[in-house]
Amino acid sequence: MDPIQSLIKELAVKHGRKRESLLPVLQGVVEQERYLSEHSMIEIARELDLPAAEVYGTATFYSFLEHRKMGRFVIRICKTISCSMKGKNQVLLAIQDMLKISTGETTPDGRFSLVETNCLGLCHKAPAMLINEEVYTDLTPEKVRELLSEYMMK
């Protein structure tokens, strides 16, 4: 049994094998692997006795359930209007400049992925972003450079 299969078996034990268990199981795999590979989806289909196409169709609906390979740290920067108004573009440029990738890409060393996301509910402390599940607000280009340097040590 490979690590993906054992992870999925654990998740199935924890959340059940019903249709309602699908989302928590998908989330569990993404939490550890950062994305859902073809292999993961097939194993989930097998474990939950669901058609593979159903698993794929459900997963691709949700923005956080990525099926393309993602880095260890997924940076999600808000692009909705309130953050836009408060300098999100400069912050985004600073990130792109520092990591040498554009939006939608992953660094070659597999550490960072950069995506834009919609309103994070932090409009009063804009601009805001998530790195995995951590929340960062009141961003400026300097702040974000400092932050990313810390992450580069991890």
Partner: protein, 596 residues
């Protein structure tokens, strides 16, 4: 006695049962509300929004297919608000659609095209969205072409594949402007669990899902003076073909079909029903052999229940989903493939023809047959046994192209050698038919008497119920079959792959007590196949079934073993059922495939 409620449709009062939708209520007063995502065979979706109507007192318009009537509802199906909205919806659909109709396979038969024509959409004010999208056209499958540029995302295909067939090869993926109908990881249909049954093709309103067509290839073969083109026609074709050529559903057009095929230029027009009778001989013998091994020899390795193997959609399904049960399938090829193997051997020899110059064509109600003909093992004749498979729809295309006045054709008869058939053969086209044909022969073989049913009509196996079970008690059999005395021969019949799943799960759980299983992948059996005329619904399939049983009733010979051409082929060529030549030409192997 349920309380009835009253609603007003365009001012006309109509009484309906509570729970009736506005769409259903409207049809009662002869008001047709246009629809796209709605289909009688499937659950209500309510996503295309074409059927919106105005309900007095409501701010927004309501989808007629999804809104239940309430007492006193005042409904307008053609108010200005409704018409303007509907026009917008059609224009929106056209803006994300490859509307190059003159180059489309569904030209003239497309539901979106009909709507646009009805509403006289003569300008496109909205911006074309297709250039901004990257869509794929999947032409890899030998049976089905999926063209995403024509998809209107009504989800009929997804619902069909999930609810009717239980295969779930198609799904809805992504959201927003990226939402599309897809397979697992957008793989070609040929690379996923698609069984090629074509039920999705039958229900797609546009040209997004169509059969792979071989009309031009067949025209080329017919026009080639070097080639001898033989055609075989499946039982279900003769009760469906008429629908595309001006006849009502349930019309028997056998004689005209033969006549038309001759006029198209086929060198020999023969009948798949012949090889259906042959299949009964081989499969009947196989079943009795297995029963003997199980009940007389007490052989523990015998695989029972034995399942029929003439439906290639069913074959691919069991190969993917229940590969451990491949041994339960009869090793018999389908009638199409038996015929194909014999055309380039038995027929070629009898007519003194060079088999390499024979082109073997079949007309099928089926899209999966195209896949079957292309299976790597189907060349036991030494050549490809069946070169081209045309659906019923493709045949009607050829007939129209040739300018044949089909309605007024005189009836003609099939050519000899492989053109004679019995009533047992023609019922292969309806669910329960293979079972009935097999029982008529097997019972008589074992007891020496015909089946104990009036006029040989084994009614317990007939009908549109998803899973049927029936049994026949064997009493006073012939000496050779003494071990069957008192045995209740139990049968199960399933049609539509979702019912195949029910049966196979029962087999897996050890709860199956039957000996013989007939499965047809398509609802209704082959008469509802993926290659039959569109539209399809339960009513139409019932009519086709009735026509098939009529064909059976009027046949002079009703049992497969009494077919003189079948008796001849055993005498002159095959020897005996399950003999060496039969084994080589008429039996096959299966391939276990991935479930996911």
């Amino acid at each position: 006695m349920t309380q009835k409620i009253q609603v007003n449709i365009n001012g006309f009062p109509v009484d309906v049962k509570p729970g009736t939708t506005i769409l259903e209520a409207a049809s009662k007063v002869n008001v047709t509300i246009p629809t796209l995502c709605y289909h009688k065979d499937l659950c209500v979706a309510g996503n295309c929004r074409v059927c919106v109507v105005e309900v007095a007192g409501q701010k927004r318009l309501s989808a007629a297919c999804a809104t239940p009537c309430e007492d006193g509802m005042d409904i307008l199906t053609n108010s200005l608000k409704v018409r303007n909205s509907r026009k917008h919806i059609i224009e929106l659909l056209l803006s994300e659609h490859n509307a190059d109709c003159t180059k489309c396979y569904k030209n003239g038969k497309c539901e979106l095209q009909s709507l646009a024509s009805e509403y006289k959409i003569m300008t496109q004010d909205f911006i074309e969205l297709l250039p901004w999208k990257d869509y794929t056209i999947d032409m890899i499958s030998p049976s089905i072409i999926k063209d995403d540029s024509k998809c209107i995302r009504c989800q009929r295909c997804v619902r069909t594949c999930a609810e009717l067939q239980g295969v779930n090869a198609l799904t809805v993926a992504y959201k927003g402007d990226k939402m599309k109908i897809s397979t697992f990881f957008e793989k070609p249909m040929n690379d996923v669990v698609c069984t090629n049954c074509g039920q999705c093709v039958n229900r797609c309103p546009t040209g997004a899902l169509v059969e792979k067509n071989y009309v031009e290839e067949v025209w080329d073969a017919i026009s080639d003076p070097e080639k001898h083109v033989v055609v075989q026609t499946a039982p279900a074709v003769r009760v469906g073909l008429g629908e595309d050529l001006g006849f009502d559903p349930g019309s028997r057009v056998t004689g005209k079909m033969v006549s038309a095929l001759k006029r198209l230029g086929f060198d020999s027009v023969m009948d798949t029903d012949f090889s259906a009778d042959l299949t009964i001989m081989e499969e009947g013998t196989e079943l009795l052999t297995r029963l003997k091994k199980a009940l007389k020899d007490k052989d523990p390795d015998v695989k029972l229940p034995m399942a029929t193997s003439c439906s290639p959609g069913w074959i691919k399904y069991i190969e993917h989903m229940y590969p451990e049960y491949l041994g339960n399938l009869s090793t018999c090829k389908s009638p199409q493939q038996m015929f194909g193997a014999l055309v380039k051997t038995y027929y070629a020899k009898a007519r003194n023809l060079d088999p390499s110059k024979i082109v073997s064509v079949s007309i099928m109600p089926c899209t999966a047959k195209k896949f079957e003909a292309a299976r790597s093992e189907m060349h036991d004749s030494g050549y490809r046994d069946v070169d081209y498979v045309l659906t019923t729809r493709e045949l009607s295309i050829m007939i129209k192209q040739a300018g044949i006045d089909f309605m007024n054709l005189a009836d003609m008869e099939f050519d000899r050698l492989m053109g004679e058939s019995t009533g047992a053969a023609v019922i292969f086209g309806v669910t329960g038919g293979v079972m009935e044909a097999a029982l008529r022969t097997a019972y008589e073989l074992v007891t020496g008497r015909p089946v104990p049913f009036e006029n040989l009509n084994i009614t317990p196996v007939r009908g549109m119920t998803g899973v049927k079970e029936a049994s026949i008690k064997i009493e006073n059999p012939l000496k050779e079959w003494k071990f069957l005395d008192g045995v209740e021969l139990r049968c199960a019949i399933a049609h539509g792959l979702i019912n195949a799943k029910t049966v196979m799960d029962a087999v897996k759980a050890g709860k199956a007590s039957f000996h013989f299983l007939e499965v047809m992948a398509c609802p209704g059996g082959c008469l509802g196949g993926g290659g039959q005329p569109i539209p399809t619904n339960a009513e139409i399939r019932e009519k086709r079934a009735k026509a098939i049983y009529e064909e059976d009733a009027w046949k002079p010979i009703r049992k497969s073993h009494e077919n003189p051409e079948v008796q001849k082929i055993y005498k002159d060529f095959l020897g005996e059922p399950l003999g060496e030549i039969s084994h080589h030409l008429l039996h096959t192997k299966y391939t276990p495939r991935q479930r996911f």
